[in-house]
Amino acid sequence: MRYKSLLMAGAVAAVMAVSGAPLAQTLNVVSAGDQNMVDYVNNYLAPKFEAMNPGVKVRAVGTGPGDSGSQKIYEKLQAQQKAGSAAWDTDVAVVHQRGAATMVKENLLLAYRNDIASGKLVSRDSAKNALGANVDGFVLPMFHSQIAFAYNPDLVKVPPKSFAELTEWVKKNPKQFGYNGVKGGMSGVGFVMGWVGANAGLGDKLEKGPYDPAQKAAIDKSLASLKDFNQFVVMTPGNAGTLDMLNRGEIAMGPVWVDMFYTWQADGKLNPKVKLALPSPGLPGQPMYYVVPAKAANAALAKKFIDFAASPEVQAQGIVKQFNWYPGIDPQYVQAKLTPAEWNKLFVDISPSDLAKYGRPFPLSDYFTDIVEGYERVVLK
């Protein structure tokens, strides 16, 4: 009798296991960056992923824009690592390059890229190298963003093609150029990086290395000229602040994020006449990375989610079409999924060749710190 009931229990258990009774699973996604990043997961990715995987709930929270948002994620993972927790409560994180580099160095992340199909669709350097740190296998770019000058063609007949031309232009048109310094947001930081790149005479050593602390002098010298430049410009309160002031006509030109620019225009928050331009030698852009914490509670589900999010269809419809970012995976896979009109929308003002020539990565972490601290020391005094 007992043997029979045991057999029955075993049979029921086997049937349940085979049928895969859906357990309620929550996938916790934590994203640095502006609110649009969180909205992207909650309003676009989550419903699709949940439909594909019944019983799964995707929950996204944001930690704020800029490197400080990634900083918060790093601190959380580090705390859980130090406390020796067996399972960490973040399954997928979206972080900036600096944050990712630090996390890889401290063994906070899982190497997952080679385990998923979409991982093979990336060959750009930015998928392996984050500001000089080797992050190969640990990250997958979600998108590539780019900073460019937005300008009002009614007020700026011929946009400056280089930083030298910009300097001449602001002298003739004082207080018509605005940027947000280094404390207001990354578009301003990117502008300063571009300035140093153009004026410090270090060429692409800033991005490729090796790091040489003796170059601080050259960096400081280029920042001294930026201090002079600042007399002719307006400081704006942030990334959105620059777009805002452009829209109201308080400035005629300023550095902006290309995706924010297009999104604002689509929402009707920005004058449709405003255009973009990339000066030589270039302005930086950055990817944001999908990462999986080393001890994520739902690591398998996390990999599935990222595989889905990085697939060509989602990259085409979500990243490019809806949110106006340049794709994270290689462009040819994404271009195939969009109509020519949709694809070209991204390249109306900045052609792919311009982007390839003048879209640069941010400098190496150590140079980045030198430049930002140098700005405070030299320009803000």
Binding site: G66, G181, M235, R248, E376, R377
Partner: protein
């Protein structure tokens, strides 16, 4: 409770400010804070002192009118109106001022519309002046409230007597009312000074320029560089400034006690 929520964090902050990377004692963080943010510290002191003085003047004017005003309707309206900013948080004040003081903000619209200035002469007040305006607008009602209360508790007989003898209201204010409510005014001003020293939202939203208030630098050090050491050093310097204000007040209060 003061021990747990104030003294303990203060001690921890001090320890972090003086601790070097290797665990030893160092002034390096203070040196760095001074080197990078010296101008901002002076700016912070300047702005808060200026705002405090203006708050005092505005509070005296409003409270004085409420006490000595002779038009009951005007007094009633003023009494109702002046308290509104009390209930508005600093961050909302920041946002309100951003819309009000911008180059094409409400202030300029009114000035241009009423013909007082040319459209081309419109200025954006979103710099140090915006911070002062926001602070005065927000804190003056608080000091006015304290002051009006103190003035109302004065003996009306002395005011009437002075009026009968021919004193103007201004003379009344300066010679009889203010000397007696000086203590309350000092309390209000010192409290306002210390409060304004700690505000992050207003300078962050209104003043993108440099120099800016020290709170912005503290937030920047923590958020962008994760540099708690320099941030704590800046906080301790800020505490020193606030302590300075408190010391001035206490010296003044004890001097009065001694002479009373």
């Amino acid at each position: 409770m003061i021990g747990a929520f104030f003294v303990l964090p203060l001690l921890m902050s001090a320890v972090l400010a003086f601790r070097a990377k290797d665990g030893g004692f160092t002034f390096a963080h203070f040196e760095k804070a001074w080197e990078l943010y010296r101008t901002d510290l002076l700016f912070t002191v300047g702005i808060t002192v200026l705002s405090t003085v203006l708050i005092g003047l505005v509070a005296i004017a409003i409270a004085g009118y409420l006490t000595l005003g002779e038009n009951p309707r005007a007094v009633a309206i003023l009494r109702w109106l002046y308290r509104w900013p009390l209930f508005i948080p600093f961050i909302v004040t920041g946002q309100v001022m951003r819309a009000f003081l911008a180059k094409n903000g409400m202030l300029n619209h009114v000035l241009i519309g009423s013909g007082l200035i040319d459209p081309l002469a419109a200025q954006s007040l979103l710099d140090w002046r915006g911070i002062v305006i926001a602070f005065v607008w927000k804190q003056a009602p608080f000091v006015t409230l304290l002051l009006a209360g103190a003035m109302a508790s004065l003996e009306p007989a002395q005011l009437e007597a002075a009026r009968n003898l021919g004193a103007t209201r201004l003379r009344l204010l300066g010679g009889i009312v203010l000397p007696q409510v000086r203590g309350t005014l000092m309390v209000g001003m010192v409290l306002s000074f210390v409060t304004m020293l700690s505000v992050l939202s207003v300078p962050l939203m209104i003043n993108p320029n440099s120099p800016t208030m020290i709170t912005v630098d503290i937030a920047y050090r923590i958020n962008t560089h994760s540099d708690y050491a320099v941030a704590n050093a800046l906080c301790l310097m800020s505490l020193l400034i606030a302590a300075g204000a408190a010391w001035i007040y206490l010296r003044h209060a004890s001097a009065r006690h001694a002479s009373a």
